[in-house]
């Protein structure tokens, strides 16, 4: 059983559905629907209850469980409503005693097939099979039980599969392939021995699974469950809060389940749509952070040791030091904070301390990206020239340049893999270090260090020579300036063979929907011209999605773009004149490479959720709530989407919000900071 073959039989094909209205008779009632709808969709839209197990909104339908069987006039036998295309004049019955008898029979057969005893199942109370058992008053089973002894696969760090609880509905298989784009799961073996299997029956932890957890969210029973959320609470015992993932620039919406001020689990709000997947970091990583929390303010004492003190004392020490400093003070903030905190910090630095040295931790990325965009087009579009990540799953060619999405922006992996499997997209990786998409990439170009500029110019020249560009966009001076990039020279400088160069150029040039994605690896070259080259490449090949070029730059945090657009990263801080730094680190990971230069600072104040190398350097450490306890606010995703975060947990007792600290601190500096 391969999900790929049947996928999109009706719904996900796109364009199959017309808007033509049709009328059906269901249980003697006239109802309306659209041509291309399934009978199940029309029933659901009209409030006609049909039991389902293998159907899940957002996934294609396969008719595996047969719970939704209906009688249709002129059909010889009951058919599953989820795969039956509705047509005008269809006469359907959903609630005859005969159908109810079949459904109960199906349930009993499912229950006897494997271990479906609820009293020792983690999912009891959240199980769709159990719910149907109750609904159909299944108080006994007429058939002998099979009791197969199947293994429990707990080899993954996050997920466990208990095959004994599996009903083979295939929702995990479809979620893995259609939502996460990974297709690590499929069915193995045959007949009643069929099991869900990762790759070719590898343990999940050793397979190509990326632990994004879509399968777990799709599973109707206790067959796939999270090791981190086990027995922490049933859905009915939890509050659900929709917020934004603070981690990377994608800024996924999260549905966070909370019980007694504890995180229970994190889900995608829905499995429908192009942003339906989550990644391992968002779904599991946020639940488990083993770093040591900063729970009390710390001040460096006369003997040079950090010691605990009250928040008031810490702020007084800080204020005295800031007043003493007079100049040479800079404020640096993590772009994991919402707009409200960022703008308050902006005002704190500029008004309360009078400094205009302000930056975000990822400000350098902005200056390179924005510099490149400015050189390409001076029409003031700024970051808005880039396209939405929704362009990725629609692409037929994707260039991934100096980016490792699985490490930094894992959701993008899902989108790219979906483009590959669903649109047959060609994937070209340009990376000096490694082929980050092996074995799924079609081509890996490995330019010599620092030769990216030559490579991009060389590619552009080949495209122009081959006539794969929009001619009206090719000014004579461009042709002139590219004339020095002779193929042999490009081959020599980049170390890439001519065949690969030409193949990359013609694949991208012939694509109708080519998307360029670049990241940290390219920005490390510190050259905005590289960004300009990529924008030009997209422009020349006509890769415009309305007003946006199909180019996407990776931005490190959920509110990087929000912070940059507030002007927090407008200029470099002259580090040679720097005397004091106030760093709002939030819960960002320590990265010594990034702030080793802070070691020589006279005065360093760090506001952080976790102890790290950087807090141990500080003169004053103030505790900052972790992501879930942080006050809500506005976030701008890397492709410009406005997201709203919400506070999920109450902070630990006595812990102030960053907003409160900034206001108090400015009071101590003799400045009244308005909260908004």
């Amino acid at each position: 059983m391969c999900s790929q073959g049947r996928k999109g039989f009706l719904k996900n094909e796109g364009g199959f559905k017309t808007m033509k209205e049709i009328t059906l008779t269901i249980n003697g009632r006239q109802v309306k629907g659209k041509e291309g709808d399934t009978v199940l969709e029309i029933c659901q839209a009209n409030g006609i209850d049909l039991p389902t197990l293998c159907h899940l909104e957002g996934l294609s339908d396969v008719g595996a469980c047969r719970m939704c069987v209906v009688e249709i006039e002129r059909e010889r036998r009951p058919v599953p409503a989820c795969t039956y295309p509705a047509s005008n004049g269809l006469v359907v019955k959903t609630d005859t005693p005969e159908l109810e008898k079949y459904r109960r029979l199906i349930l009993e057969l499912i229950f006897t097939e494997r271990n479906h005893f609820c009293m020792f199942c983690e999912q009891s109370g959240d199980c769709e099979l159990q719910k149907l058992g109750y609904q159909y008053q299944m108080d006994n089973v007429r058939y002998p039980y099979a009791f197969p002894s199947l293994p429990l696969d707990s080899s993954s760090d996050y997920l466990a599969i208990d095959h004994n609880r599996c009903i083979l509905c295939g929702r995990c298989v479809r979620a893995c392939s259609e939502v996460a784009g990974i297709h690590a799961l499929d069915f193995g073996k045959r007949g009643w021995r069929t099991v869900v299997s990762a790759d070719l029956e590898l343990p999940l932890g050793e397979s190509s699974c990326i632990s994004d957890g879509a399968c777990m969210q799709a599973c109707p029973t206790g067959a796939i469950f999270s090791k981190l959320s086990l027995y922490k609470g049933k859905t009915s015992e939890c509050q659900q809060v929709i917020t934004v993932c603070p981690l990377c620039g994608v800024g996924c919406e999260l549905n966070v389940l909370v019980r007694d001020n504890n995180l229970v689990r994190i889900e995608a709000p829905s499995l429908k749509g192009s942003r339906a997947a989550l990644c391992q970091k968002g779904r599991f990583g946020l639940l488990r952070d083993n770093r040591l929390r900063v729970t009390s303010p710390l001040v460096r004492n006369r003997r040079g040791k950090l010691g605990e003190c009250t928040i008031d004392k810490a702020m007084e020490t800080a204020a005295a030091k800031l007043i003493e400093l007079k100049d040479g003070f800079a404020g640096i903030i993590s772009s994991r904070y919402p707009k409200e905190t960022l703008s308050l910090f902006n005002r704190f630095v500029r008004q309360a301390t009078g400094s205009d040295w302000i930056d975000t931790l990822d400000g350098r990325n902005y200056r390179l990206i924005a510099g490149g965009i400015k050189q390409f087009s001076d029409r003031g579009k700024g970051l808005d020239i880039e396209c939405s990540i929704d362009e990725i799953p629609e692409a037929d060619c994707i260039l991934v340049i100096g980016a490792d999405p699985l490490k930094t922006h894992p959701l993008i992996v899902s989108l790219i893999r979906r483009a590959k499997s669903q649109k047959g997209a060609k994937l070209i990786v340009i990376d000096q270090a490694s082929d980050v998409f092996s074995p799924w990439s079609d081509l890996w170009l490995k330019p010599e260090a620092g030769s990216e500029g030559i490579l991009f110019s060389g590619l552009t020249k080949i495209l122009i020579d081959k006539g794969l560009v929009k001619q009206e966009k090719v000014p004579a001076e461009l042709v002139q300036s590219l004339s020095r990039y002779k193929r042999d020279d490009v081959v020599r400088a980049t170390g890439i063979g001519i065949a690969d160069l030409e193949s990359a150029a013609s694949t991208y040039g012939k694509a109708e929907h080519g998307v360029i994605i670049y990241g940290e690896g390219l920005l490390e070259r510190n050259d905005p011209n590289l960004v300009t080259c990529l924008l030009r490449l997209a422009d020349l090949t006509g890769n415009w999605a309305e007003n946006h070029l199909r180019v996407i730059s990776f931005k490190p945090n959920a509110n990087s773009r929000g912070a940059w657009e507030l002007g927090l990263a407008a200029k470099d801080i002259p580090s040679d004149k720097l005397k004091g730094v106030y760093l709002l680190l939030a819960d960002e990971q320590e990265d010594e490479g990034r702030w080793g230069w802070l070691k020589g600072i006279d005065f360093l104040m760090v506001q952080a959720s976790y102890h790290s190398a950087i807090t141990s350097l500080a003169d004053v450490v103030l505790p900052s709530p972790i992501w879930a306890a942080r006050e809500g606010g506005e976030y701008i995703s890397m492709d410009g989407r406005l997201n709203k975060s919400r506070q999920v947990l109450q902070p630990k007792e006595g812990l102030l919000q960053d907003r409160e600290i900034l206001i108090e601190l400015s009071k101590k500096l003799g400045h009244k900071l308005s909260p908004s």
């Binding site: 108080d139 039980y145 002894s149």
Partner: protein
């Protein structure tokens, strides 16, 4: 009119269903006026005499369970199954996932708390394990079921009252429990 007679028993069970029955609180006094409990773990009468209703908790695990169930079935007009073990097999079916010999070895010889040199107890008085644990309807005819692990006191009360009023109880969906 003589009071209807009820006999109850437990096979492979944990007594939880009987506990849940005692949880019907003051209704038990009322019930005691309406029915007569003969053989039951509650009355500690062991031998079955003919009754109107036989109630079984637990699944079929040993040869003794088979014997007891057959006797009760022969002595009652209506047989009611209490709890997931009797209705479906329940938690005892976990042993069906492994081999019987392996199970006994692990249980009596290899557990962390057993002394070295322990053996699987064997005696004619100890009933033998059946090859597999089964729900009771795979051996005898069962007339009505009250699933749950254990069934709620409310569900048990509902089922008994339905019987007293001459109806074969089927639990409504909101009283159904498999855990």
């Amino acid at each position: 009119m003589a009071k209807p007679k009820i006999a109850t028993t437990w096979l492979a069970g944990c007594a939880g269903c009987h506990m849940s029955f005692l949880d019907i609180d003051e209704a038990i006094v009322e019930l005691a006026n309406l029915v007569e409990f003969t053989a039951s773990p509650v009355t500690d009468i062991k031998e079955f005499s003919p009754v109107d209703v036989g109630i079984v908790e637990g699944s079929l695990n040993t040869t003794k369970d088979v014997e007891v169930l057959k006797k009760l079935r022969a002595n009652c007009k209506i047989l009611m199954a209490w709890g997931d073990c009797a209705c479906f097999g329940g938690i005892f079916t976990m042993r069906n996932l492994c081999d019987k010999g392996e199970l006994l070895r692990r249980g009596f010889i290899e557990t962390e708390s057993t002394k070295k040199g322990s053996k699987v107890p064997a005696s004619e008085e100890i009933p033998a394990l059946l090859p597999q644990v089964k729900p009771i309807n795979q051996l005898v005819k069962v007339d009505c079921y009250v699933p749950g692990c254990p069934p709620s006191a409310k569900a048990i009360h509902y089922a008994v009252v339905e019987l007293l009023q001459g109806r074969i109880p089927v639990l409504p969906s909101d009283m159904m429990r498999f855990d």
